[in-house]
Amino acid sequence: MGSNGHHGETWIYAEQRRGKLARVSLELLSKGAELSGKSGSGLVCVLVGSSVEHLAPELVSHGAGKVYVIDDPRLEHYQNQAYAAVIADLVREHQPEIFLLGATAIGEDLAPCIAAKVGTGLTAHCIDLRMEGCNGASMLHQTVPGWGGGKRVDIVCPELRPQMATVKPGVFVVPQAKQDRRGQIVRVSPRLDNRMFRARTVEITEEAESDLPIEEAEVVVAAGWGVNALGSMDLVRELAEVLEGAVAGTRPLLDKGWITSDCMIGQSGKVIGPNLLVSLGASGAMHFSTGFERAKFVLAVDQNPLAPIFQSADVGIVGDLREVLPPLILELRKLRPA
């Protein structure tokens, strides 16, 4: 049983687009399982859309004990206030202890509206969540990076419920799917009215994204402003190609037009957790390095031995990119099977 008579459930918003579940919703299920496991209460997903019930089993196989399916043709596209209204109705009815959403474009648009409708606290883009006892009751401690990442701030929502938080994709991992898991699928008829559609999503268009989304790549080669001296991204792309990785970069390169916004790493860009991250010519300012904190191994190359990037790296090479990249690429080619 949770605090104040709440049922103690942990809820997760299962974001879907065009009949496909957002990866972050699955990632949240792993943390959700941990949180609900501690309280011994249910792990529930909320799925909203039109003809989306077929996605529910995937949520169950990834750990959801129950899935509320709010299905209506008018909800085919994400409609912010309509989605928020129907979800808030459900929240008020079942009073979960915790409600998590992915900090995606939709998540960050939706979560504050739900929180305001329900009247509860929300913490944005958390990088960690844990239950901690406080004054006798167990509370969700929501950790966020502060001031460009040089600090960590723990936030709590002591009284109001549910404790809401958004989490960036890539912070948690997708749990193993187990096909034999069982879960309840509950259809909910949404109570809709026209006022909920005063902002009406007319169309969602796909735009060409660069090859492999960087948050899904095992290897990412991130270029910083120092790459400017190379005159182009060619050597960077060659290195990425040898490592079979994705190319990413920092804001100055985005401003220069050498990378697209979906490839930007950092506090206002993407947070990624690849296997290997190679940083080239980035000095390693906090707002960039927090973007790849979760990388398993970091190799950095920069010409300034005092650059902070080396504190964020496992192995570093000090040198001019023009002189280091060619031999580095050569050596890495030797590693690859022919």
Partner: protein, 264 residues
């Protein structure tokens, strides 16, 4: 068509590393750190100014903050905004996004009639992206966030394109409404001399808790559902091995380390 632009004064992003934590009191120390208008707020102001060209009306710029926030309002007035509103009161201090939105909503309801509210999509310091949508909810108006293009049509309808991962969302909003914009929406003008001189003649009102008619328990830290439980300095723990030698040797050493790690 009257608009309200909500802005915030934040520590200069280039100086974030100068912000320190008092080891004893755990208080954030930011003395000597220069303050600037939140960068993306300029784009919101620019959007309002461009709208005024097409649909004449008043552009009011509003901020909730300490007395120094006035400077940000003056900069907005120099850009061309017509009036400024400063919400300043000790009682507002410590407000989280929820309490902030509630306070601003009360002020707008009382003092600033509007067809459109414009905000920057996020602040450079906390970057929560929460105040906009919460403000819309408290004012009971439709909203769209992260807008990269907008067009107000004659019939009180606004068409926007909102940025999403891998694409964009086209939304139609009936006015009055609230929109948060990102940098792509326009290029903000630099204040010109006439604008700068004109600031002195423009109205800048300051309101406190008593003017808003909100109960004290809804304001500031008391009115905030969330609160800070702890702050600490963050240190990374990496090996930080810097390889020496000429580029060729350093490269082969680096690759050897990668092989040892075995993750490839």
């Amino acid at each position: 068509m009257d608009t309200v632009v909500c802005i915030k004064q934040v520590p200069h992003p280039d100086h974030f590393s100068q912000i320190t934590l008092d080891p004893v009191t755990k208080a954030i120390r930011r003395e000597g750190v220069p303050l600037v208008m939140n960068p993306v707020d300029r784009h919101a102001i620019e959007a309002a100014l461009q709208l005024r060209d097409k649909f004449p009306g008043k552009v009011t710029v509003l901020t909730m903050g300490p007395p120094q926030s006035r400077e940000a309002l003056e900069e907005a007035l120099a850009m061309g905004a017509d009036e400024g509103v400063l919400l300043c009161d000790r009682a507002f201090a410590g407000a989280d996004a929820y309490a902030t939105a509630l306070t601003i909503a009360a002020a707008i309801r009382k003092f600033c009639p509007f067809s459109l509210i414009l905000c920057g999509c996020e602040t450079a310091d906390s970057g929560t992206r929460m105040v906009g949508p919460m403000l819309a909810e408290f004012l009971d108006v439709p909203y769209a966030t992260n807008v990269r293009a907008m067009k107000v049509m004659d019939k009180g309808i606004c068409l926007v394109e909102a940025d999403m991962e891998g694409g964009c969302m086209k939304v139609e909003l009936g006015l009055p409404a609230l929109i948060t914009v990102n940098r792509a929406v326009n290029e903000p003008r630099i204040p010109d001399v006439m604008g700068i001189i004109g600031v002195a003649d423009k109205l800048l009102s300051t309101y406190g808790a008593n003017d808003l008619g909100l109960p004290a328990e809804k304001l500031g830290l008391t009115g905030s559902p969330t609160r800070v439980a702890g702050v600490w300095e963050f240190k990374k723990d990496r090996r930080s091995e810097v390889l020496k030698g000429n580029p060729k040797n350093a490269s082969s050493d680096a690759v050897a380390r990668l092989r040892e790690w075995g993750g490839l």
